[in-house]
């Protein structure tokens, strides 16, 4: 009686083992599945916030543009900055300036002395046009629901931006079935979509207007 009970327990444990393994797949399998863009924005945003430091090369170009690729014909702004972030402080090389990584304000060297960022033209220009990367990333995280993966650009330069991947998760899940349903025979030869490293967020017009107003307030337009 005892031995049959023990055998039943051992058999039960052996049968349960593979079931437990299937129910909880390893992390590798989870990683193979396409990540939701919303989750990816959250993840990279968190990773960016945890950086102890980094260097950034920033540019801001603007003016009157023409065409879908927004090629700037009449340039109004063409600025570039090199900055180093260490801990909570960011140092900008030219104009020489320091500012906190988050928040507002800072110090800029103007005329041989240190003054508040917003107290000089060059500081104001820096503060308005070189938005803190942390603020931009935070904005992306806030708008993460609008994020989409973008397919890697095909060939050629100066084309319109690549189109967002509309139903990436569906395509990955559909796999063979989706190919079989296609009416065109060539669709069966199309290789699976390459993994994208490009996220795009098209923000609301209110956010766009806020940024446009900030740029105008930088004084970069002579007309004001």
């Amino acid at each position: 009686m005892m031995s049959s009970c023990r055998s039943a327990l051992v058999l039960g444990a052996l049968l349960a083992l593979p079931t437990m393994t299937w129910a909880d797949p390893p992390d590798q399998d989870k990683g193979a599945k396409a990540e939701e863009p919303e989750a990816a924005v959250s993840r990279v945003g968190r990773a960016f916030g945890q950086l102890r430091g980094y260097q950034v090369a920033a540019t801001c170009q603007g003016g009157l543009a023409q065409g879908a690729d927004h090629r700037i014909g009449t340039s109004t702004v063409n600025e570039s900055w090199q900055a180093t972030v260490a801990g909570t402080v960011c140092r900008v090389d030219a104009p020489q300036a320091f500012r906190l990584r988050t928040g507002q304000g800072g110090a800029v060297q103007s005329g041989g002395r240190w003054m508040s960022l917003l107290a000089s033209d060059e500081g104001r220009r820096l503060e308005r046009l070189f938005v803190r990367p942390e603020a931009v990333v935070a904005e992306c995280v806030r708008l993460k629901r609008l994020a989409r993966w973008v397919e890697p650009e095909a060939t050629g330069q100066g084309q319109a931006p690549a189109a967002p991947v509309a139903a990436r998760a569906d395509a990955d899940d559909g796999g063979t079935q989706a190919r079989g349903q296609g009416s065109d025979d060539s669709s069966a030869e199309v290789p699976p979509a390459p993994v994208s490293n490009h996220l795009r967020i098209v923000g609301p017009t209110t956010t766009a207007l806020e940024h446009f107003t900030r740029i105008i307030n930088s004084g970069c337009f002579a007309e004001g």
């Binding site: 990540e35 065409g67 996220l199 967020i201 956010t207 940024h211």
Partner: protein
Amino acid sequence: MSRADKTQTQITYDLMLDATNQTIQEIRFTVLCAARPVGAGVAPAPNAGAFTTQEHVAFVSTYRFTGQGADVVRFEIPADAQKLLR
């Protein structure tokens, strides 16, 4: 920017990640604002092609990140500048 039509604006953020999709390598954000055609009224009708076929205002900011995860470069902050970092 007297020709800017602030009723038509758009902002796009592009995040370029590294090969393993772990870190942000580049951020590009584009702010667009429609421009009123010369001779148009103060409040022209919305135009679907305002950012494609028509002349418009565009600002493109690009941030390229390097040295992420590497040893942070330490720098001295002058005392006078330090006072303003509060």
